[in-house]
Symmetry: C2
Subunit: 477 residues, 2 copies
Amino acid sequence: MNATHPAHIQRRAIPAGFIEALRERFGDRLSTAAAVREHHGRDESPYAAMPPDAVVYATSTEEVAWVAAHCHRHHVPLIPYGVGSSLEGHLLAVQGGVSLDLSGMNHIVAVHAEDFTATVQAGVTRKQLNDHIRDTGLFFPIDPGADASLGGMAATRASGTNAVRYGTMRENVVSLKVVTADGRIIDTAGRARKSSAGYDLTRVFVGSEGTLGIITEVTVRLYPQPEAISAAICNFPDLRSAVQSVIEVIQMGVPVARVEFMDTAAVRATNAYSKLTLKESPLLLFEFHGSPSGVREQAETVQEIARANGGEDFAWAEHPEDRNRLWTARHNAYFAGLQLRPGCRSSTTDVCVPISRLAECVTETAAELDQASFPYTIVGHVGDGNFHVLMLLDPDNPAEFAESEALNRRLVERAIRMQGTCTGEHGVGLHKMPFMEMEFGRDALDLMAALKRAFDPHNILNPGKIIPSGPATEHAA
Amino acid sequence: MNATHPAHIQRRAIPAGFIEALRERFGDRLSTAAAVREHHGRDESPYAAMPPDAVVYATSTEEVAWVAAHCHRHHVPLIPYGVGSSLEGHLLAVQGGVSLDLSGMNHIVAVHAEDFTATVQAGVTRKQLNDHIRDTGLFFPIDPGADASLGGMAATRASGTNAVRYGTMRENVVSLKVVTADGRIIDTAGRARKSSAGYDLTRVFVGSEGTLGIITEVTVRLYPQPEAISAAICNFPDLRSAVQSVIEVIQMGVPVARVEFMDTAAVRATNAYSKLTLKESPLLLFEFHGSPSGVREQAETVQEIARANGGEDFAWAEHPEDRNRLWTARHNAYFAGLQLRPGCRSSTTDVCVPISRLAECVTETAAELDQASFPYTIVGHVGDGNFHVLMLLDPDNPAEFAESEALNRRLVERAIRMQGTCTGEHGVGLHKMPFMEMEFGRDALDLMAALKRAFDPHNILNPGKIIPSGPATEHAA
């Protein structure tokens, strides 16, 4: 899929002495080894690697600032790298330059349990944070499939299965420490729960995918671990009845913590991969958080609503081990799906629509995918109107890739037509760039480009991503 | 307080023919009458009016775009005006120009009950919206004291008593229709609950106080009306025990909908103004939303925690009329406070700190205020760490105003030292501008200024606000 190289995919020349200066500063924490560069030039997307010219392993915000200033001075691209779990080509060094590996910045800076906040370095992963705070009685709910770094999660505005109750990174980042394109260090906010003081720099950087600044510390909101948790599975005759149940559940004010949809193929794959015996029909997977009686009440209400919509076989998982098995299975749905076609290469996509349009959007999409020459699964964070399509492609058959891209395009067009978005939680990276103008219109995209130029006048920060702007030199000073 | 006129408060010359062109386009919806200009050159702050040169009453987004393009072409300031209820000098025409009155843009554009969203024109007020959607079983929770316009609430990132459970305008604006400085019309997002597509233009505009674009439509999230609601009052020996109770309540995961603090003076004022007989001690006012049994359980948990912290006289208000009387009294605390000193002029301020520092911050502040030569009250959205000080000044005694400004400065310095913010919900306007650098630092403020220049290169949108930038002509093209 590197057959065409548009203007924003053009390697820049690295000035003489640039790499040597990095080596002098970082010693063996600077690598130009092919394997290391290759590893840092890819993510979990199906794109072939586009390696950077060098990889620097940073251990402090000050080091990040030094690298940024160096790259700024010499107009060399700079791409922050966490654990490499992004899905849409975010990390590819399409214009070459330096990949800045932040995985060594993995210290918990502070936990303020009384304030329900934790401050961590960008390389700390979500599981590491939750392990660290377990004894405080608090937890951090945002859970993308991968054990992603908090810096990366902030940068892609990630979410996961808990967003219907707890929100996404948009709602849960309190403050960021950011290195600007020219190597200055700022804090976007204090630790107050709310503020009306000036422009919301925090949310300017959340979701900016490394193109406006480099996040080196993240302060996030924490939540009390629920006193009681229970999970339930319910089978439905079709997607429409499942979605209608979810709409009614939310309308009743039931504060459901998770509600996930899996199509029949995803259930089948999960059964095979995770040794489960779920009934192979469209299903909803619920989780309830609260007091013991509150959880019971929520579950009863949901069960009634589901039954009225044709749901059946409402099954409980009250024991932690049963619940964990279920959710581990759900988090592994991606890997399970891959096993449906051994040796395949996968292409994933995600869209998000207003929930009233979700059944229609998924049904139309599934009808198209049923005609495809490859297998697929659909899973969704259905309370948010967000769903994922996993397409399982023959790596040796370029026609299948082209077919999957055409299906992806029609899916995105459908979502945008329904007042939705081209990506609910994966981010834009390279893969969704062609749809930005369709979603936002030329004038809004111009504003985004103006913001990019204002924050990164030499276009060094993860250039060639998000905004389909011109070649590398267009905005150089 | 207009004695000193810094660089950002300099009227600009209006080019010949500029007003005439407006008159030709808008007829009698253009006014240059002194009384109309005076009315549009003030807000609820203690600042004396600084009237615009003209007032235009717009009725559509296209009209707003026409005015913006006209002002942009001629480098004339343009200040959007809703209902005039801002508190920090947001609306003063410090550089002259056009006040754009949006109160006539008061149509409900669409209610999507299944999606829990409503789209309204910027002039629709929060009460108007709630009246309109009453029969849907949904409500819009954000409730600043005034019946503000939704456009104004978005522009100031407003919140109110429900924020501890439902969030602020930051979390509850789904999308905005915005007119840019040069008169283009954009939509910042679709209606999906979440999106990872590109820069978060929605939150760039939320809280930008009319300085980056003119909001003409707002799409907000709605919530199901709770099945059951109850309210309770609890008296405490001091603020510290009240705040400690709130921390423990949140730590227990009780999803309290509202928790408000009133100091003894505020209670006394409220008793007098609203004909109530509340015990005159520091108190917390709670509200619980949920199912009948859920509400009962929440209340029991809170009562136990309060009692363990020295709270007493836990009193219930389960009947809607009792509850409404209480909350009306709370919303009228500002007017009640004014009656403590008949004929006074008030100066209000608000800060927000991490909740672990709230007791310390309020206690230190109250100790200073006890030495002041004027009366004051303190009320707070204590679950958020946000509180308000109302200072009651003799309008004929400039020394009192100077004293109140010095107290305000020390309060803000204290809040920022505690990792808080100079304003939790009022916004910056003119009054908090001097503290922006203290809170964010020079480098972050430079980024905000770069954002402003990128979005408004001629510095026409509510110029001289938020960012203490130079004189009017500094950024002119």
